[in-house]
Amino acid sequence: MGAQMMRGKYVIAGIGNTAFGKLGLDTVTLNVMACKAALEDAGVDKVDVDALLLKTPTSAKEILYGQKVAQAMGMQPRWGGAWDQGGAANLTLINIAMMAIETGQCEIALVSYADNPRSGNRQVYGRPRGNDAAYGWFSTAAGYGMIHRAHVAQYQTDPRAFGEFAIAVRKHGAQNPNAQLQKAISMDDYLASAWVVDPLRRDDCCLVSDGAAAVVVMSAEKARQLQVREPVPILGIGGAQESYDVHLRPCLTTTQAARSAKLAFEMAGVKPADISVAQIYDCFTITGLMTLEDYGFCDKGGVYEFVRDGQIQHGGRLPVNTSGGLLSETGTPGLPLVLEAVRQVRGSANLQVPDVRYSLVSNQGGTMHTHATMILGA
C-alpha cells in the first residue's frame, strides 16, 4: 500500500498563528502574518518555499486568491492556489503537499488559512439555501441541528452528552491565554443556554472569529538537512466526503469521518485506543460527538458513556481540544486544531498531556460534507 510507505516520511516543520477574535484586518494580511510566524518557527526562508496552498476564506471568496497571498508574501512559488472544501481543506492541503513533494513537484510547502468574518461579513453563516429559503431554510447551524435531532432520535442521546463536550472544550479554552472565549461553563449553564435553532443551544455553536494559522510541510529528510528544530512526523492522513446536502442524505447519523479515519489509522498503524490526545473539529457539539463515534473511540450511540464525567477533559481518558477548539479558542476552522496537535507532540502545549505518543486531529467542512483526519506522533 502506497499510504503506509508515506508513514513518517513527511513532517510539520513549523507552525504559526495570529491572535484570534476581532482583528479588523483583511484576510491576505492575516495569511501573511501566520505564514511569517510558521516560517520563523521552522527556520525556513520564504525563498525556499515552492508551494503556497491556501484554503479559500469562507466569508468572502475571491478569484485567484492564492496568487494574491503569494504576491503579498513576495513569493513566486511553483505551486499555489486556494482550495474550496470547507474546513476539511486544511488537512487536505497538507495531504496534497505531501503528494506533491513525494512526486518531486515541490520540496517545501506552506499551508495557510485566514478569514475575518467577525470584523467583516458573517452573512455566509446565515445564508439562504437556494429555493428552500422560501421555507425558511437558512444558515449553517440549521443543518447541524437536523443531524443533532436525528442522532438523539435514533440513539436516545442524552442531552448531557452535548453538554459534556461543550464543558470540556470551554474549560480548556478558559485556560488558553490566546483563546477568544475564556469562559468555562457548567452543565446547568449548558442546559439553560438559549436556543439558536432548536435542538442547538448557543453553547452548542462555535465562535465567529478573525484569525489565521499556517504550517510548513516538508520531508523528514529535508527537515534534517535544514536542521529544523522541532519537526513533527505525519504518521497517518486520510480524507473522505459525503458530498450531498443534509436533506438529500439517506442517513443523517453516519458521516464519512469513518472512511477518512480508517485510512489515517491504517497508514499510521494505530488504533483509537493508542491515541493520547485528540483535536476534534467542533463547529457544533454534534460534530465532535459523531466524530468520536465514527472514529471508533466508542460505539455508535455510546458517546455519552465515553464523554461523561470529564473523560474528555485534560487529565481524563482522552483529552479533547486542549486549546479550546472552535467552541472556545477560535472559530477559525481547522488549522488551529492542527497547531495544537503539533504542540502536544512537541511537549509545548499550554495544557500539555503527558507522554504523547499519538496526537490526532480531525477537520471537516460544510455540514459534514467533507472530512479529513491526521495522526501525528513522536
Binding site: G126, P128, G130, G136, W137, M146, A150, A153, L252
Partner: protein, 129 residues
C-alpha cells in the same frame, strides 16, 4: 404563514413549481429506477437525460426537523419560532418543508401528508401532521 422569498424558476425546475400551482407535487424519475428531488437535467444515479415527472402520493415521513429561534432573514422575524423539516416521500425523494398542525406530536418517523399552500403567489409544498 406567508413568505416573500422568491424562488428561482428555470427551464429545469419549472414543471415542479407549476405543479404546486395546481396543488400537485411532482418528483423526477428515471428508467434506472431512481426517484429524486430537486429537479435536474440528468438522473443523478445514471446520468441519463430521459427524465420523467411523476406525481407524489403526498404521504411522507419526517426524517428530522429544527425550530428556528433566530431569524436569519427579516421576512421570518414575525414567524419565530418556526419549524423546518426534512421529509422523505413514500416514493423516495427527500425535501425541505414546513410541518403544520399539531407540531407537539412532531417526531422522527412520524407520517405527514402533503398540504400545498395555495395562498401564496408561488405555492409551497408544506406538510401536515
Amino acid at each position: 404563514m406567508t413568505t416573500e422569498i422568491a424562488v428561482d424558476v428555470d427551464s429545469i425546475n419549472k414543471p415542479y413549481w407549476d405543479g404546486l400551482k395546481q396543488g400537485q407535487l411532482f418528483y423526477q424519475a428515471c428508467q434506472c429506477g431512481h426517484h429524486w428531488l430537486p429537479p435536474s437535467r440528468h438522473c443523478p444515479a445514471c446520468l441519463n437525460e430521459n427524465v420523467t415527472w411523476q406525481q407524489a402520493s403526498g404521504e411522507a415521513t419526517v426524517v428530522s426537523w429544527v425550530v428556528y429561534h433566530v431569524a436569519y432573514n427579516p421576512e421570518f422575524k414575525d414567524r419565530l419560532p418556526y419549524n423546518v423539516a426534512i421529509v422523505r416521500l413514500r416514493e423516495g425523494p427527500q425535501l425541505i418543508t414546513n410541518i403544520e398542525g399539531d407540531t407537539q406530536r412532531l417526531a422522527v418517523g412520524e407520517t405527514v401528508r402533503l398540504k400545498v399552500d395555495l395562498g401564496l403567489e408561488q405555492p409551497l409544498a408544506r406538510f401536515s401532521i
